[in-house]
């Protein structure tokens, strides 16, 4: 089953064409990686799928629903969740409060004006569950800005997963991590996204080849190739794009 379908998506910023004719399908349960040289348009694609940008042309479907011009928060509520390359958390709030923001939204209690948040057991338990999953429970009451970089990345992941999304989108999850941290991160990603649909943007080829079921290569805003890792490895056009440059 197709989770997300992109049909001929294009995006230009005041004349600068960033994406052209992107047609792509993300299948249920797969880990789909998007790779490509810098400036290929990967982040833009992410932003379009999650509703931060409106596409200049084309359509996006999520489970057969046309979400082309939907706003970010509505798309998030549908079940698409994303992480950020540059850690994007709630700095002055504690780890617990950070996760709680996501959980409150998950339970659709954002506009609940009659109950006391502190006393809510259900929300508290769910927060604990997520924090345990990401090994953050011991840092529960630490303000997010005081966490180490690695822990902040954990929190970033926690926020992305907290809503139990149907589609998890990770934007360069191993950026800035050491080789050892990267290996651990890949392990964790495999663990927490088991059975889920994953769309990741990555530069680290080892990570890509160890996680991805299918890979799409972008270059200059266009899809160069889509297929299984082995196919992509052998693809001539891909080789040219990576090796032919610079």
């Amino acid at each position: 089953m197709t989770i997300v379908k992109l049909k001929n998506i294009s995006k230009d910023f005041s004349g600068l064409q960033v994406l052209v004719g992107i047609t792509l399908e993300i299948l249920e349960g797969e880990c789909h990686a998007i790779i490509g040289p810098n400036g290929a348009g990967k982040s833009t694609l992410f932003n379009i799928i999650t509703g931060l940008y409106r596409p200049s042309g084309g359509k996006i479907f999520f489970l057969d629903k046309d979400i082309t011009n939907w706003s970010a928060h509505k798309i998030a509520r549908l079940g698409i969740s994303r992480s950020f390359q540059i850690t994007n958390i709630f700095p002055k709030m504690t780890v617990f409060e950070n996760v709680r923001n996501a959980i409150v939204s998950k339970f659709n209690r954002r506009f609940d004006w009659v109950s006391l948040l502190n006393k809510d057991k259900k929300i508290g338990e769910e927060c604990d569950r997520i924090m345990n999953l990401l090994v953050l429970i011991d840092k529960k009451d630490v303000p997010a800005s005081e966490l180490s970089y690695g822990a902040q990345r954990q929190l970033e992941m926690a926020l992305t997963l907290a809503r139990d999304p149907l589609l998890i989108m990770l934007d360069e999850p191993t950026a800035g991590l050491t080789a050892d941290e990267t290996r651990k991160a890949v392990q964790m990603i495999k663990q927490v996204t088991k059975g889920k649909t994953l769309l990741i943007v990555e530069h680290d080829m080892e990570v890509v080849f160890s996680l991805a079921d299918r890979i799409t290569v972008l270059n200059y805003g266009e899809v160069l190739a889509t297929g299984a890792p082995a196919e992509i490895r052998e693809n001539e056009k891909v080789k040219m794009a990576y090796l032919g440059r610079g």
Binding site: H73, N88, F90, M93, N101, R109, R110, D112, D120, A162
Partner: protein, 326 residues
């Protein structure tokens, strides 16, 4: 014994007793001042809800206060069959509606754009209040005939005495401030702070930023409207001063001087401002200058307002940080 709990509770009880005996012990002028401090405290708290907690800086907050004041004033004069409480309730509602409408148009903009938009709406309402003399009497203002206060079981109490006005203001302000405090403890209140902390992330977590901002303006408007109504009731008179830029400036001064980071900062700020004004204006015609200088001093050197001075060591006398030191 949990120090963090007993000190605030004991302190709170002391403050409550103090507030209750004011009319019995202080001279009339000070009772006047106290009543003023009370409704301005509510106004300031409503402002900080938007500014400190919501992260938006409205330059035209007096619009909500003034609309409440005029609504109350007009109802007092034209619908004498209504007693005080229903009228103040309607004043609060008028503030809520105004806050909602203004929010509807202004929250799409961010930063200084929002601030100016808020000012634009306020200036527009000010101009209406100024020019629609047949209704509002313009800058001359309109006097207000106070109805009695109807309480079930107690009948109608006359409102001519300062003590009565003080008590009703005290009760309603306490109610308003408590409502605001409770609001901040609900998931909706959390949504407001969450939005302030990281609007984009909140969006990606499913928070409707537009709606949340409008909501905080509406709730704030409700409280500011109530404060305006109490202002009208107490002063017995409403003129364009309650809806002009000066009033917006005053509440901004109060909140920044008092402190945006703690829930009761604005209350401290309102008390400080009014006491300072009372004291200084007796000494010099140019007290406004000193207020300005003090304000700049606070912005430069007292980040977080004067409430920061009330932190004795590890014991925080006031709870509920907004997390937003300006």
């Amino acid at each position: 014994m949990n120090l963090h709990r007993t000190y605030p509770i004991a302190g709170g009880i002391l403050v409550a007793i103090f507030l209750l005996v004011i009319p019995q012990t202080l001279p009339i002028l000070l009772i006047h001042l106290s009543t003023e401090i009370l409704y301005f405290a509510l106004f300031a708290v409503s402002f900080n809800l938007v500014f400190g907690y919501g992260g938006l800086l409205p330059f035209g907050h007096a619009a909500l206060f003034g609309i409440g004041a005029y609504t109350a004033g007009l109802l007092f004069n034209h619908l004498p069959q209504l007693s005080i409480l229903p009228i103040l309730l309607i004043a609060a509602l008028s503030g809520l509606v105004a806050g909602f409408l203004i929010g509807l148009f202004c929250v799409r903009l961010s930063g200084p754009y929002f601030s100016l938009a808020s000012l634009a709406f306020q200036m527009f309402f000010f101009a209406v209040a100024l020019k629609w003399r047949s209704v509002t009497h313009g800058s001359d203002g309109m006097g207000i005939t106070r109805p009695g206060l109807y309480l079930p079981l107690l009948g109608s109490l006359p409102m001519g005495e300062v003590q009565n006005l003080y008590y009703i203001t005290l009760v309603l302000v306490a109610l308003g401030i408590f409502t605001c405090y409770f609001f901040l403890k609900t998931p909706l209140g959390n949504s407001v702070v969450c939005m302030r902390e990281n609007e984009i992330r909140a969006s990606f977590l499913g928070y409707d930023i537009f709606l949340t901002k409008i909501t905080v303006l509406a709730v704030s408007g409700m409280l500011a409207g109530l404060a305006g109504g109490l202002f009208a009731l107490f002063q017995g008179f409403v003129s364009t001063t309650c809806i002009d830029v000066n009033m917006s400036l005053i509440v901004l001064l109060m909140v920044v001087i008092g402190g945006t980071d703690y829930f009761l900062g604005p209350v401290i700020g309102a008390a400080f401002y009014l006491i300072f004004q009372d004291w200084l204006s007796g000494m010099t015609r140019h007290w406004w200058l000193f207020m300005g200088i003090f304000f700049v001093f606070v912005v430069l050197y007292l980040e977080g307002g004067i409430i920061e001075l009330f932190k004795f060591g590890k014991i925080r006398l006031w709870i509920s940080k907004s997390g937003n030191k300006t």
